[in-house]
Amino acid sequence: MKMKRRSFLKACGVMTGYAVLSVNIASEAFAAAMSFVASRQKSVYAADANPKIYKFRKSQNNPMITKIYNKDGGFLHDGPCGHKSHELLHTEYIDRSAKLSALKAKGYKLNF
């Protein structure tokens, strides 16, 4: 109870601050939050399409990829999903569901 009253008072203080700083913020806020992710995404696609930043747009055209997979003496010369790849670049997964069941058995409710 005490905590909630305190937060109420604190929130009111901040609210006053916002009211002084700017008007008409409520409607703009949601749009702004959505456009935040969108502006980063847009910038990513712009860099992808900008030959000054990326000379090539397909992984298979990267000269260093050609080099590492080169059939004659490349580090991964047996190709993608080859022997060396499996050793270094592939993995296996671990069933963690028992830990989840143990948690649920303690009485915790989760979404799945």
Binding site: M3, K4, S7, F8, A11, V14, Y18, I25, A26, A29, F30, A33, F36, V37, A38, R40, Q41, K42, S43, V44, Y45, A46, A47, D48, A49, I53, Y54, K55, R57, K58, S59, Q60, N62, M64, I65, I68, F75, G79, P80, S85, E87, L88, L89, H90, T91, E92, Y93, I94, D95, R96, S97, K99, L100, A102, L103, Y108, K109, L110, N111, F112
Partner: protein
């Protein structure tokens, strides 16, 4: 504890061999929590809940938490802190002349880092980032984007192989799920372990660059791999979990020695007194640094899919893909599906899910045997890594959520008064 770009961090670098399932990467400071419930709303799994009558929230157990940090970036009161930070250890390693420190920044870092230095949201600062890493004292400026290109080669080939082997005995199942996102991987292992055979066996790009650095990179640069200290630099908190997975030791050493996120990199650059905005643009060191547009789009939801299709299309059809823009798979939120017509092959059916609530819908469909797709991309953070839990905070989210929160608290407070 210390404040880094608006977020509190505990100075704690877990030692090799620590069980990542027992570490809280994200937790609520009970003294700062104002019981608004915003975190609970954005958490897919329900790991963050109110724990007492005052509705103070906590991450109830690390087992249920996917370490995505969406609660943290959405808490209007800055009440949620990070439990793991390698910053101090990394500063030590950078000073040690006997340690060869290798940088491995993810694609999205270069679209967020600039914001900490006053740039507009999303500004690309890749060149300055590389220059800053050199200035900080990293010995090799290698880049996770190169490994993203490797990932496409491996994961695209795996998909093509899986499609071809259907009908054969011991065929691996379709659809194939992407495996780049550590929050999603832990989610599948915890909630949908029966779908593990559908996960691509490919490590994530950082999971590939670590062992490549200590084998291939060591060879190319004539470095003793024992001396190499690999630093994963991520837009993400869940990557800290991935970095200490005990099985990632295929180089013969710990593949990933430290993981920091975009906010921590900004902090280190500021702490070192580097004038970021006036740095020249620099390239990474080529061997494990050069990358393509396909690699950089890994940061967006739909990006891994588009990059993989740029390869699969050419391999399956035997023809050149003239326009690399495959816009139908680009996703901002929710679930997107598409049929890609590949000449000389047929239709490739794909789906992209952004956020774990959407992932669960797709998983249920696969579990029921009703999924028509060949390839499914899943990202834990809505919009993809560019919106990751380790990126600079959205100044508007704090402000706007704050306002709706105030309204909510007002309501609750009034309701209680009436009752009393």
């Amino acid at each position: 504890m210390r404040l880094i770009e608006g977020v509190m961090y505990r100075n704690y670098a877990p030692k090799d061999g620590t069980d990542p399932d027992r570490i809280t990467f994200v937790q609520v400071d009970a003294d700062k929590c104002q019981a608004c419930g915003a975190c609970e709303e954005v958490c897919a799994t329900g790991a963050i809940q109110s724990i007492n009558d005052d509705e103070i929230h906590q991450v109830v157990d690390p087992v249920a938490c996917m370490n995505c940090g969406q609660c943290l970036t959405n808490c209007p009161y800055g009440a949620i802190y990070e439990g793991v930070s390698f910053v101090d250890e990394l500063f030590e390693k950078l000073k040690d002349p006997d340690t060869i420190v290798v940088s491995m920044p993810a694609p999205s870092v270069r679209y967020g880092l600039g914001e900490c230095f006053g740039a507009a949201t999303g500004t690309y600062v890749g060149g300055k980032m590389h220059a800053a890493l050199r200035k900080l004292g990293f010995n090799y400026i290698w880049d996770t984007e190169f490994a993203a290109d490797v990932t496409i080669m491996e994961e695209g080939t795996e998909l093509i192989d899986r499609v071809k082997e259907q009908g054969e005995k011991d065929a691996r199942p379709l659809p194939q799920f992407t495996s780049c996102c550590p929050g999603w991987i832990k989610f599948a292992e915890t909630f949908y372990p029966d779908l593990m055979p559908n996960l691509s066996s490919c490590k994530s790009p950082i999971g590939m660059l670590g062992p490549l650095a200590k084998t291939y990179g060591a060879k190319e640069t004539d470095t003793n791999p024992k001396k190499i200290y690999t630093v994963s630099i991520m837009p993400c908190i869940a990557k800290k979990y991935e970095g200490i997975r005990p099985e990632l030791t295929d180089s013969g050493f710990s593949d990933i020695d430290a993981t920091i996120n975009t906010r921590e990199l900004a902090y280190m650059i500021k702490k070192a007194g580097i004038d970021f905005n006036n740095l020249p643009d620099q390239d990474p060191d080529p061997v494990l640094g050069e990358s393509t547009g396909a690699a950089t789009i890994f940061g967006n939801s739909g990006g891994v899919m588009e990059a993989a299709l740029r390869l699969a299309y050419e391999v399956l059809s035997g023809e050149k893909l003239n326009d690399p823009n495959i816009k139908v798979v680009r996703t901002h939120e929710g679930i997107k599906t598409a049929d890609i017509n590949v000449p000389n092959f047929g239709v490739v059916k794909v789906a992209i899910a952004s956020g774990l609530k959407n992932a669960a819908k797709i998983c249920d469909e696969v579990r029921a045997g009703k999924s028509p797709y060949h390839f499914i991309e899943i990202m834990t953070c809505p919009g993809g890594c560019v919106n990751g839990g380790g990126q600079p905070l959205d100044p508007e989210i704090q402000a706007s959520l704050f306002r709706s929160t105030v309204a909510q608290i007002n309501r609750r407070f009034r309701a209680r008064k009436i009752k009393a």
